[in-house]
Amino acid sequence: MWDYCGHALETARLRRATYADVRVMHMRQRDLTTKNGLVGTLGQSESLGLGIRVVANGAWGFASTDALTRQGVAACAAKAVAIAKASALAKKENVHMAPEAAYVDSWQGPCLKDPFEIPLETQLELLLAADAAIRGVKGVTLSETDMQFRKIDTWFASSGGSKIHQRRVISGCGIVATCFQGDAIQKRSYPNSFGGQHILGGYELIESLELLKHAPVTAEEAVALHSAAQCPEKTGTLILGGSQLGLQIHESVGHPIELDRVLGQEANFAGTSFLTLDQLHHLQYGSSIVNVVADARAAHGPGLGTFAYDDEGVPAQCIDVIKDGQFRGYLSSRETAHLIGLERSGGTMRTEGWNRLPMIRMTNVSLLPGPWTLNNLIADTDDGILMETNRSWSIDDRRYQFQFSTEIGWEIKGGKKARMLKNPSYSGITTEFWNSCDAICNAGHWVLWGTPNCGKGQPMQTMGTGHGAAPARFCKVKIGTAFSRE
């Protein structure tokens, strides 16, 4: 693979590219699903190719190919240079990149049990057993389970002298029980909705989830939701479960801090951000107990945003995003770092595959834990609603106004978890919401949740991001608007 990298870089140099970086990626994937006791999807795929990004005439060009021959690679590199020269027709200024040292390294993410080495029969047997356990609950009209595994090898080389190989294994799994009754559809998912939990790791994730233990409870809750009271419409106290809070962080902190959005580079599609450059170090983003980091280092945990080097060859870092409630940092790249006074990139450039450009993406954007246990937090809440497991999410294109709904809610009365509520939802304005946070649960409740489906860019790239969160409490939140018919 290094030969292909070297040949691409040399071709770019000969064609007068002033900078080039190249990624050869080998991506393998296995997808398994079941539905109502039958195997649904059963497939594997692999994709091997090369993408090269160059600066020529002061502008960017990128080309990719799966023709991994010397001729194919050279043609691809030449095309990238030609595209860069076309880009220069409409350039304002030359590309400027923050300096970065050259690294020669090889890194492998955590993976105790290679999921591709686990017999498929074992994996299907578990999913079908969980599927059966869901259907064993009367009233369930649809049972679904899924597993997804990926193994990604990346060989990165740059004209700056870096040569980095990384291997990342990603595993994901989830189950869903759906119940159609009367004029409503209710569902419950475990351990999270929209595909379950995903980590940088191996089959050990699946074994830790105890699917067979949780399947009946998940199914019973889906059926019980039909008899539950409707979530009231009011302004009140809200406690968010960890996985829902993870998505709240993703949408209302992770995306607004992407510097490419802030600079208008995503204005046509993903949108911009309310976090204009003048807000840095000035905006009170949240209450004083809110601390958020963007941490790609392995020490943060096996998240979907964990790596050793980003796709520009910049080492993984931990960035303070919100410190004691104050806005402290953006996600940056080599091209954007100088715009916020940084001498080097924050190391957040990531690509979906060999045929896509790296772009600024979330790493693991996590809310640091507080001192509370969940029991103490509930006991401390006189009147509130606990909401768990995302059902829908939406936020405006500058990341101010959001609305989320969850699969299930629980009334909190007099410090105790009371009746179940159906169709819970809440909404608000990002900074008002985070400033209303008055309690965060401790490290014992903290989970690094994986969001495997973050979409951004044109052409669209899907990326996995990590979000560590423990349950937390928010005050004076607008609740129940999604189902209001007034």
Binding site: E10, T11, T34, K35, V39, G40, L42, G43, Q44, S45, E46, S47, G49, A59, W60, F62, T65, A67, R70, Q71, A74, C76, A80, I83, A84, A86, S87, L89, A90, K91, K92, P119, L120, E121, L124, L128, T141, L142, T178, F180, A184, I185, G264, Q265, A267, N268, R391, S394, D396, R398, Y400, Q401, Q403, S405, S427, Q458, P459, A482, S484, R485
Partner: protein, 468 residues
């Protein structure tokens, strides 16, 4: 080895730089034949081979300059085997004989490792297809330089108007060849071009977009002028209270909202009781002025005339004057329901069954101008954003207005309005349609392209307002 010696022949490089072209259909058919021969030599009961080639180039601009500019060229082969009521798929982009053999054997191994599926049907035999012509050479030859020059003109327009332009200009071509061991052979190729532009004027913004097989069907500069004029008008928005408003939805807004209905028309979704049409077929559900079909043969549609198994796509009337009448069927769901397959099956194996990919909502005769002129008080909506399902059976969707929301008063467009969040049932919306414009191919960001009309809708529910 010296650098010079490692360079390929100049002629090859020139061809690549000036514009790559798809391989011949014969080359792709040869890959299918190779896999089928290998399968026969391994005595595999049934084999299906799907070869797909994609060339795509995209020029992306923001802040009145090109900031990303990419090209990709990929070829994949996807192999499905079926043995004794078991099936599985393996996909690879490696075309060496050994890699194809490994993929084939991998598929066989996956298939064998699962329980027997009593509902799995034998693969279909030879089919005949209605011809569609969706490959336009003018699109296929579009170069990076051509796109860059068009973008430059758009950026110059923005600068002249004191605005900032962002967007994409994309052109591409693709082909697919499908064959199986029972003699089915299908092929299709198309081109596609897309231009999307956002014009930012201070803190205001507006947007325009077009998508077609033929790049000559739209003019980037004209689209940029539309977005520029609307962005100018979108400045200094007033805040209105949330509530129920009469709305005039431009085609992109209709598409991105109504497009979320597509999977509800799948027979498998109804069978699984997750469709909003479960237990509602044959009953009046939408307004009498609403008729919806799926029609891949509509002249403004794109897409192959066959489905994931190679069955010919049929035109299906889904909603007739407000009454949901029919669903789309794969071979499997058709057999279960005692119906004929409609050619909408997804590639097997999958749990979703089928889906209509070429919806056409029948239009009317009202122009956008007539809709505005007939409105005493309402809102003109350019597009909607971040739409998600809140309630699957009532089909309540939430999302935001974006890039140009305007007050309409006494038949005229007035002030810009701050963006709203909506929580609106699509079914209810399609009962409240007061006027329909002519239906054309529309393109947005939430749903894939369809043929839809602009609509004037009463009692559209906005629940909250944002800060811009």
């Amino acid at each position: 080895m010296s650098a010079k010696k490692t360079m390929p022949a100049t002629a090859t490089l020139q061809k690549t730089v000036l514009g790559e072209q798809l391989r011949s259909e014969r080359e792709l058919r040869a890959i299918v034949a190779t896999v089928l021969r290998l399968a026969k030599s391994l005595d595999i009961e049934e084999t299906e081979v799907h070869v797909e080639e994609v060339i795509d180039e995209l020029t992306r601009f923001a802040n009145n300059t090109i900031h990303q500019h990419m090209a990709e060229h990929g070829l994949t082969v996807s192999i499905r085997t079926a043995v004794d009521g078991r099936t599985a798929r393996v996909t690879t982009n490696r075309m060496e004989l050994d890699a194809l053999r490994t993929a084939l054997e991998g598929s066989l191994s996956l298939a064998a490792s699962q329980p027997k599926d009593p509902g799995l049907l034998p693969m279909p035999g030879k089919q005949s297809y209605r011809a569609v012509r969706r490959f336009v050479p003018a699109t296929a030859v579009l170069s990076a330089e051509h796109r860059a020059r068009a973008v430059k003109h758009v950026c110059e327009l923005a600068e002249r108007n004191g605005q900032v332009a962002a967007g994409i200009f994309e052109s591409g071509q693709s082909q697919t060849v499908l064959g199986n061991s029972r003699g089915l052979a299908a092929s299709y190729r198309q081109t596609q071009a897309e231009f999307s532009v956002t014009m930012l004027h201070g803190s205001a913004a507006s947007w325009a977009k077009a998508n077609s097989a033929d790049v000559r069907r739209f003019d980037p500069l004209s689209l940029a002028k539309i977005a520029s004029e609307k962005a100018n008008r979108a400045q200094n928005p007033v805040e209105l209270p949330p509530g129920k408003y009469t709305v005039i939805l431009e085609p992109a807004a209709v598409l991105d909202l109504a497009g979320f209905l597509f999977y509800d028309f799948a027979a498998t979704a109804v069978e699984d009781k997750r469709s909003c049409f479960s237990e509602r077929l044959g009953k009046p559900l939408l307004g009498k002025n609403i008729s919806i079909s799926d029609d891949v043969y509509h002249p403004e549609q794109l897409g192959a005339p066959f489905d994931g198994e190679g069955m010919p796509r049929q035109r299906v009337v889904l909603v007739d004057e407000g009454v949901p009448r029919n669903l789309v069927y794969s071979r499997r769901s058709a057999k279960k329901a005692g119906k004929k397959p409609t050619g909408h099956g997804l590639g097997l194996p999958n749990e979703f069954g089928e889906a209509p990919m070429n919806l056409v909502i029948e239009g009317g005769t009202s122009s956008l101008e007539e809709m505005i002129a007939s409105t005493d008080r309402g809102l003109l909506v350019t597009r909607l954003w971040y739409i998600r399902e809140v309630d699957p059976y009532e089909k309540i969707m939430t999302g935001m207005t974006r890039d140009g929301l305007f007050l309409v008063e006494k038949g005229k467009i007035g002030r810009a309005v701050r963006n709203f969040r909506f929580n609106q049932s699509i079914l209810e919306m399609l009962r409240n349609v007061q006027r329909l414009g002519p239906a054309h191919r529309a393109t947005g960001e939430e749903a894939f392209e369809m043929v839809v009309p602009p609509m004037k809708v009463g009692n559209f529910q906005f629940s909250e307002v944002t800060k811009f």
